[in-house]
């Protein structure tokens, strides 16, 4: 008898593998089809995880070089063994991949390796494999880096984030096109390892997705760390020679050229649907390639769902995971809800940046009456002990209802600190509730309390 699955997931990244596990937990017969040889998708293999490993290694170096002396530690010149750093990264990634593999085994999820192409609403043909038949199909094939049209990736000198995570050694001079989150993170890694890092960014600020106040402060901090920025500039031409790459950039003051040993193009990502078979089934995409879905993640073919980087919304691993869980639950007969306003966004620079909810700019654009307040880490108990005083917590409040509309944090551990505000957004809490909560002392998180107090009863420590 032909095996028919309840759910076939195409893609084993944070969207796909999480959806598959949730589906299996709910008793659905699940199969996951992955085109690469390893599970885990972009995040695990060439994204979030490897970059965080390198960020950690390079941050450690930076801290030793910049903070050892003041802490009474006399460390001579620290030698960097880049291949060991890369080996560590590989081990971290391999551990994760093995982890997902065992989770799949534990949950009895069938794994199929091969490129998947939709044949009909219930059949997926797999390259060099058998057809897979399923009642429901979840498309979770993620995204790929967008190249500059005149500068295709060779992953040796013209790099996407994938190549930038697997270089043989730090380049002497690295040009980075795009100062978004991926750009500044990788730029930070190489800057700390000794590369000269120069950014060319089309918009007028660094990390445009973040709140404006934080964007500007981050730019100042990264500049102090040695990185250079050409904001409001665009790359119009590129020339390659044996030794270097020359980019011609254009901005307010005209054209100029920049030379580099390597160019990282981090201008964005686009949905990856090559050979997926969407056209043959008439599945609707928009002009940018995003698969169109209704509010239950269904495409125009009712039993085919799409999530993650394939659909609209922030291109974040945790967003894909939430959506994957929601689709699995929906297929199993539940009615889950995802509060997009409570999905945080993080930049793992040092100090980190994290935000949830509306930025001040988007809050103003809604026309609602808002009040904002911030509290600087230089007045925070813990920050003063560790001398990590850069940054602030900023809270945006709806004046009338006192509801939390957005919280933005620039500072050490921002990525962890944001979880409190995320809960506030999820529970639709008021700023008073944030302020009247007890936070441990001394911690960075007290800055959240103080910023909240500033909007309600009045801050105590400033």
């Amino acid at each position: 008898m032909e095996e028919i699955f309840d759910l076939a997931v195409i893609g084993s990244g944070p969207g796909g593998y999480v959806a598959a596990i949730r589906a299996a937990q709910l008793g659905l017969k699940t199969v996951c089809i992955e085109k690469e040889k390893e599970l885990g998708g972009t995040c695990l293999n060439v994204g979030c995880i490897p970059s965080k490993s390198l960020l950690h290694s390079s941050e450690l170096l930076w801290k030793i070089q910049n903070e050892a002396m003041e802490n009474g530690l006399e460390v001579g010149h620290v030698k960097v063994n880049f291949p060991v750093m890369i080996e560590r990264k590989k081990k971290v990634v391999a551990g994760f991949v093995k982890g997902i593999d065992s989770l799949f085994q534990k949950n009895k999820i069938t794994r199929v390796f091969g490129h998947a192409t939709l044949k009909d609403p219930n059949t997926i043909s797999v390259k060099s494999g058998k057809d897979v038949r399923a009642k429901n199909i979840l498309l979770a094939t993620g995204s790929e880096s967008i190249p500059l049209p005149f500068l295709p990736f060779d992953e040796k000198k013209i790099l996407s984030s994938t190549g930038a995570l697997a270089l043989p050694k730090p380049p002497k001079k690295m040009l980075i096109v795009g100062a978004g989150i991926i750009g500044v993170e990788l730029g930070s890694v190489y800057s700390r390892l000794g590369s000269e890092v120069i950014f060319i960014e089309f918009l007028d600020r660094v990390c445009p997705a973040l709140d404006g106040t934080l964007s500007k402060q981050l730019e100042k901090i990264l500049t102090k760390q040695g990185m250079k920025f050409h904001l409001s500039h665009k790359v119009i031409k590129a020339q390659q020679s044996e030794q270097k790459i020359t980019l011609t950039i254009q901005g307010g003051s005209g054209e100029s050229t920049l030379d580099g040993d390597a160019v990282l193009v981090a201008i964005g990502r686009r949905p990856f649907t090559k050979d997926l078979g969407l056209e043959a089934l008439g599945i609707i995409k928009d002009a940018k390639g995003f698969v169109q879905i209704d509010d239950s993640f269904r495409t125009n073919v009712k039993n085919i769902f799409a999530i993650g980087d394939l659909v609209d919304g922030p291109m974040l691993a945790h967003k894909a995971s939430e959506e994957g869980v929601a689709v699995a639950e929906f297929i199993a007969g539940h009615l889950p809800k995802i509060e997009y306003m409570a999905i945080p966004n993080v930049a793992y620079t040092y100090p980190e940046v994290a935000g949830v909810g509306l930025t001040e700019e988007s809050a103003k654009a809604t026309g609602l009456k808002i009040k904002t307040a911030s509290f600087p880490f230089k007045a925070n108990s813990r920050a003063r002990c560790t001398h990590e005083e850069e940054g602030l917590v900023k809270i945006i409040m709806h004046e009338e209802s006192k509801r939390v509309l957005g919280v933005h944090i620039l500072g050490a551990h921002a990525s962890e600190l944001i979880c409190g505000p995320v809960l506030a957004m999820q529970l639709k809490a008021t700023v008073s509730e944030l302020a009247d909560t007890c936070y441990a002392h001394p911690t960075f998180s007290e800055a959240i309390k103080e910023a909240a107090l500033a909007l309600t009863k009045g801050a105590i420590h400033i």
């Binding site: 009909d120 609403p121 089934l281 008439g282 599945i283 609707i284 169109q292 879905i293 209704d294 509010d295 239950s296 993640f297 269904r298 495409t299 125009n300 073919v301 009712k302 929601a326 929906f330 007969g333 539940h334 009615l335 889950p336 809800k337 995802i338 509060e339 997009y340 306003m341 509306l358 809604t366 609602l368 709806h398 009338e400 209802s401 006192k402 509801r403 529970l427 639709k428 008021t430 008073s432 509730e433 009247d436």
Partner: protein, 374 residues
């Protein structure tokens, strides 16, 4: 050679028929005796079969009226050779994305709409000034109006009600029941019942069991139409409609035919507790082959309940009112209840519906009949 396809005789005194549906397309290669099309008459439907194998040529289309003996096409046997596989008609994908009736994604606009309203889940500490909107005042004298967004629940319920109205032939038949026998039994045995079963003997168990007996006697009412077929359930899952704060819910007594009176009452008590706590699950509410609704608790005397799709029958109970009735030529005061049975005339005939209700009436007016399976 070309073999003629003629309209076969359909039955006595029928001289013509209508082409109801084409089962094979014009030009299709058919095998001998394969179904080609379906004819419809007032009394019965008839399939027309291919008299030979070959390429089908039809000279009629759907809704054409044809006479018995009329030639409506032919089969070209020369083209019988290889059977061209008729591609299964692929349902064309929708041309655009429609609004989902199950919204999962809650985005900015909806989040901001909620400002000023707090989620009702956890009890909120009363430390701050109430941020609630001031109590709404009924406009005094001005001619303004108030608009409220139709909740998804209301919309879905509304759509389903319209669906029932448009897609079923719903009628209601009435009768009345003298409840004195049931009332007497309850009075006499209430204490014993509570002692033995730890639950009060209500009216619902009598009604549920009377319905089960009647459903077993008139199985059409325990069925439903699924496209071209009628599905008859071999079990009785009786849904009992209850009003709660959240709205109308219909928890289901599964296999009610196997339940005793006490089991029915205990299950109903369980549902009531769950409803109060808000812990009724989807599982409790799923399915059902027949529904009982009781407008009497609110004071309704007489009403036409609406079917609970896709079921074919629903029994409406009403308030028990003492009324003068004629018994053996004399006027007596009896506790009377009007009963209403709404049914889908597409599968339940008038006679059946009426008899069903009479069956229930008899079993309620003399509950010993339930004992004796009469």
């Amino acid at each position: 050679m070309k073999v003629e396809i003629k309209v076969p005789p359909v039955g006595e005194s029928i001289t013509e028929a209508t082409v109801a549906s084409l089962l094979k397309e014009n030009g299709a290669i058919v095998k001998m005796d394969e179904e080609i099309l379906e004819l419809e008459t007032e009394k019965v439907n008839q399939i027309v079969y291919a008299p030979a194998a070959g390429a089908l040529h039809l000279s009629v289309k759907v809704n054409d009226v044809v006479k018995i003996g009329q030639v409506i096409g032919n089969i070209d046997t020369e083209k019988a050779g290889k059977e061209a596989p008729t591609p299964a008609a692929k349902p064309a994908p929708a041309k655009e994305i429609s609004t989902s009736e199950f919204p999962i994604r809650k985005k900015e606009a909806e989040y901001l709409q909620d400002l000023g309203k707090k989620p009702s889940e956890a009890p909120k500490p009363q430390k701050e000034m109430p941020a609630e909107a001031p109590p709404r005042e009924f406009p005094k004298g001005d001619r303004s109006e108030r608009r409220e967004r139709l909740t998804k629940l209301r919309k879905v319920v509304g759509d389903r009600l319209m669906e029932v109205k448009n897609q079923t032939a719903m009628l209601t038949t009435f009768n009345e029941v003298d409840m004195s026998a049931v009332i007497a039994v309850r009075k006499r045995e209430q204490d014993n019942f509570i002692k033995r079963h730890n639950v009060k003997l209500g009216f619902m168990s009598f009604f549920a069991k009377a319905c089960v007996a009647a459903l077993q006697e008139y199985p059409d009412i325990n069925g439903y139409i699924d496209k071209d077929e009628i599905v008859y359930f071999n079990y009785c899952d009786i849904g009992i409609a209850v009003g709660t704060e959240k709205g109308l819910m219909v928890p289901v007594l599964r296999n009610c035919e196997k339940m005793s009176f006490s089991e029915v009452e205990l299950k109903l008590k369980d549902f009531a507790d769950k409803a109060r706590k808000g812990t009724i699950s989807m599982d409790d509410l799923r399915g059902g082959t027949f529904t009982i609704t009781n407008g009497g608790v609110y004071g309704s005397l007489f009403s036409t309940p609406i079917l609970n799709p896709p079921q074919s029958g629903i029994l409406g109970m009403h308030a028990i009112q003492e009324r003068p009735v004629a018994i053996n030529g004399k006027v007596e005061i009896r506790p009377m209840m009007y009963l209403a049975l709404s049914y889908d005339h597409r599968i339940v005939d008038g006679k059946e519906a009426i008899s069903f209700l009479v069956h229930i009436k008899k079993n309620l007016e003399d509950p010993t009949r339930l004992l004796l399976d009469l």
